[in-house]
């Protein structure tokens, strides 16, 4: 018998907020204004906030999902979502086991982690050059 066979009624927390969602939305709005004015990135660490049960989901629902979704496979999966507010990105980093190791909101034109890193670009070029220096396979 698997766990699915046990009928468990999950009660959602309902509309219960101690005010974190509104406070965060204000901070995000301020971050957006800053990125427009100066181009400076704001990063908010969601794991350091004292969310009441259900508030995290409420924030997720309010910000919603926009046009871009990206997936990174680097020591575990990372999900990068642009929310309904362009410039507000929700980044969830998981480890190989699928547990969340970092959960942040990044307010910027493009999150740093999506860009190719200079060190990786160099390593890639080295690999490509090594392949090119091999004798070409013959076609007979």
């Amino acid at each position: 018998m698997s766990l699915e066979n046990i009928s468990i009624k999950v009660e959602t927390a309902g509309v219960f907020s101690v005010g974190n969602v509104n406070a965060l939305l204000s901070e995000i709005a301020a971050g957006l204004a800053k990125v427009i004015a100066t181009g400076e990135t704001t990063v908010i660490d969601l794991q350091s906030l004292p969310f009441a049960p259900g508030e995290y989901e409420q924030l997720r629902q309010t910000l919603g999902q926009g046009e871009v979704t990206a997936r990174i496979e680097a020591i575990g999966t990372s999900e990068v979502i642009e929310t309904r507010c362009p410039g507000v990105w929700w980044l969830t980093h998981c480890n190989i086991e699928g547990d969340i190791v970092a959960d942040v909101i990044e307010i910027t034109a493009i999150p740093e982690i999506l860009k190719s890193q200079p060190e990786d670009v160099c390593a890639g070029l080295d690999r490509l050059n090594a392949m090119l220096s091999q004798p070409a396979p013959r076609n007979d």
């Binding site: 794991q47 980093h93 969340i100």
Partner: protein, 361 residues
């Protein structure tokens, strides 16, 4: 040319990309309670970090601290951190045993004299020459003194090593004391908690690796980044405290509505720890979220601080008793016990709700 023993070099050898490393550093920033925007700076510092030797000594303890660390939610992060340190002795985790194990400790102490990090979990029994806990015929007391001499710094992991913990609880039959009661001439960081939050243990190690120094400490030598605020100040139930909404029993309407557990004995107002934000079991929650008050396990003498279900007399004072019950306990304890049992029985037969005071004794 990069030093072959730097993290940068070793990660490249393992085929870990810079992007993966940057992601790891974002997790590290979270761990260290630093602003997440500092991840690129952490990456730059860590890439050049050398691998310090770590010796971990387990004394009068229950292995809960090691369990907390090794069963923590983020094995990737932890394993990377353990890649960054050279764990030269940990008698629970190492494969070697007997003379070989003790030799590896002595060798590491000799080779890295003055440079190694000494991690200690468990208190140190001092009564009768410390004979109540020995490893390979050496008392914990002697082993600590010997290992402390060559240590760059000592990290006391868990309330037992930090403050004496449960072994030191009354009547303390083994004369247990904290590391700081014995070692006076080395920097000591106390990572208290029973057990401590695994992310806090790795966070302190990460801080040492990144900055080459110990983090800023509070008056009890605990890192401020994690112990700077009380559970109460960061608790999601705090707004109910401010509104005067309290659960009076564990199953009343207040409890169901998630009101403040202060009157049910929550020690959150006098307990400094990161449980309310870092949380436990992969962020699933922390005791108060499960409906039980904080026990105050990261504070000195939490075991002897009165009942877990007795309300603190006043917020923001050291753990004190609400009544003098513990002082006179021996004389009146039996009477209270019988009275409470009768009350409990009466409540049961009348299908009434037992209050928290009924649960006492």
């Amino acid at each position: 040319m990069a030093d072959p023993d730097t993290l940068e070099k070793r990660l490249a050898q393992q085929g870990i990309s810079r992007r993966a490393f940057l992601k790891f550093c974002t997790a590290m920033a979270t761990l260290m309670a630093l602003p997440p925007g500092t991840a690129p700076a952490i990456a730059a510092a860590l890439a050049k970090a050398k691998r310090p030797s770590v010796i971990w000594l387990s004394f009068q303890e229950c292995t809960g601290c090691t369990e907390s660390l090794t069963r923590s939610y983020s094995p990737t992060v932890e394993s990377l951190i353990f890649d960054m340190i050279s764990l030269d002795y940990h008698h629970t985790l190492q494969a070697a045993s007997g003379f070989g194990a003790e030799k590896s400790r002595e060798d590491a102490m000799k080779e890295s004299y003055g440079k190694y990090l000494l991690l200690v979990d468990g208190s140190i029994p001092t009564k009768d020459g410390g004979i109540y806990s020995t490893i390979a015929g050496t008392t914990n007391l002697d082993m600590l003194k010997q290992a402390a001499k060559g240590a760059a710094a000592i990290i006391s992991v868990g309330t037992c090593a930090a403050f004496g913990g449960i072994p030191k609880a009354n009547p303390n039959p083994t004369g247990a004391v904290a590391v700081s009661d014995i070692v006076k001439d080395k920097p000591i960081v106390n990572i208290s908690g029973c057990p401590p939050i695994p992310a806090v243990i790795t966070g302190v190690l990460a801080h040492y690796l990144t900055f080459g120094a110990l983090p800023e400490l509070d008056s009890l030598n605990r890192p401020k980044a994690f112990y700077g605020e009380t559970i109460h100040d960061r608790c999601y139930r705090r707004p109910f405290y401010d509104q005067g909404k309290f659960a009076k029993t564990f199953d009343d309407e207040g409890a169901r509505n998630g009101w403040c557990l202060f009157e049910l004995g929550c020690k959150g107002p006098v307990t400094h720890n990161a449980c309310a934000t870092t949380k436990w079991n992969g962020g699933a929650g922390f005791p108060i979220e499960a409906g039980h008050g904080c026990l105050g396990c990261s504070e000195p003498d939490f075991w002897d601080a009165g009942g877990f279900y007795k309300a603190l007399s006043m917020p923001a004072t050291p753990l004190t008793l609400v009544t003098g019950a513990a002082v006179t306990g021996a004389a009146v304890g039996v009477g209270i016990s019988i009275a409470n049992r009768m009350k409990k029985g009466a409540a049961k037969s009348a299908h009434q709700t037992a209050t928290f005071t009924d649960l006492e004794k």
